[in-house]
Subunit: 191 residues, 2 copies
C-alpha cells in the first residue's frame, strides 16, 4: 500500500529490536510497553506494528529466516547423505547464522529464561522448526519415523548446544558447540 | 484442614476429569467453564479448585505421577547401563503407565492439538520431564552434555511415539511403539 510505503523507515525493525532489548533488560519484559519501545527507537507505534504483531514477536524476529536456512540446508544436502546427517547440516546452517550474534543471543536467552510465557513461545517455535526439518527430510524420501527421529534428535542437539553456547564461560562458536552435541548424541545412542 | 477433609469426595478428581473431557469434546475447551465441569460431575466449584488450579490443569493431571515413574526408572536402572539405555527405561516406564489409557490419551491428544495454549503447556511439561531425566542421569554420575543429550533424545522418541500411538490405525501398545522409536533413533544416529 502506498500509505504504508510512505511511512517506511530504513532499519526500523533493527532499531525497534535494539530498543526493545534495552527496555526489557532495564525494566523487565512485562513492564515494557510497545509505546515505550517505539519512543526509545524514535519511531511510532504504527511503525512498530507494521513490523511486529506484539512485543513478544520482537524476540522471535528472524526465526522464520532461521527456519528457511535450516530447511534449505536439509533440502540441499547431498543425495547420498542419511537423515541424521542431512538434519545435522540444517543445525549447522542455523548455528552459522547465529555465530556472530552471540551477545544478542545471550540477552535473548536471559529474557526468555526469566519469563514462562516467552519460554512457551520459544518451545512452540522449536517444535515447529523440528516439524519443518522432518518435512524436508520426508521430501528427500526419508520414511516418516526416521524423519521425525532425525529431526527431533538433531533439534535436541541444537537446543542443548544453545544453552551451552550462551554461557559466559563458553568461548567456542555455536557451530563448534553444536557439532560436539551432535557427536555426543551419536556416541550416546551408539553406546 | 478439618474443613477441607469434611468436604472430601471420593473419586472427585476422576469424576471431574471425566466431566471436563466430555465437555471439552462436546463444546470445545474454550467454551467450557469450571462451573459447568463441576455441575456435570455433580460436585461444587470449590471441590474442583481443591484438585485443580484451573481448567487447563485437568488435562495435565497425573503428569507429576508420570515424572515420578520416569525418574524412579532412571534412578533404578542397573549401574552398568549407559545413559541412553537408562533414559530409555524411563520412557518405557511412562509408556507402561499409559498403555491401558489409550482412549483417554486419544481424547487428550485431540484436545491439546486443537488449542495452541494447551500445546504450549504440553511442551513446557515435556521440557521439564526431559530436565528431570537429565538430572536423574547426572545423579548417576553421567556428564552434563551426555545426560542432556540422552534425556532429550529419548524424550523425543517418547513424543514421536506418542503421536504415532494415538493414531486410530495404530494397534500396538505404547511400549512397543516407543521401543520402535528408540531403536529407530539409535539406527538413525548410527547411520
Amino acid at each position: 500500500m502506498l500509505n504504508g510505503m510512505a511511512r517506511w523507515e530504513p532499519g526500523a525493525p533493527d532499531r525497534l529490536q535494539e530498543a526493545a532489548y534495552e527496555l526489557y533488560t532495564e525494566r523487565g519484559y512485562d513492564a515494557t510497553t510497545v509505546a515505550e519501545i517505539a519512543e526509545r527507537a524514535g519511531l511510532t507505534k504504527r511503525t512498530f506494528f507494521r513490523h511486529f504483531a506484539d512485543k513478544r514477536e520482537v524476540l522471535f524476529w528472524r526465526s522464520e529466516r532461521v527456519t528457511e536456512l535450516v530447511v534449505e540446508a536439509v533440502e540441499g544436502a547431498p543425495a547420498d547423505v542419511g537423515p541424521f546427517e542431512a538434519a545435522s547440516l540444517g543445525v549447522v546452517a542455523a548455528t552459522e547464522f547465529l555465530n556472530d550474534r552471540r551477545p544478542f543471543s545471550q540477552r535473548r536467552h536471559a529474557l526468555i529464561s526469566a519469563n514462562p510465557e516467552l519460554q512457551e513461545r520459544e518451545l512452540i517455535k522449536m517444535a515447529r522448526l523440528s516439524g519443518s526439518v522432518a518435512e524436508a527430510l520426508r521430501a528427500r524420501g526419508v520414511a516418516e519415523v526416521e524423519a521425525a527421529m532425525a529431526a527431533e534428535a538433531t533439534m535436541a542437539a541444537f537446543r542443548v548446544g544453545w544453552e551451552r553456547w550462551v554461557e559466559p564461560t563458553e568461548t567456542r562458536s555455536f557451530t563448534e558447540v553444536a557439532r560436539e552435541m551432535l557427536d555426543g548424541l551419536r556416541a550416546v545412542a551408539a553406546a
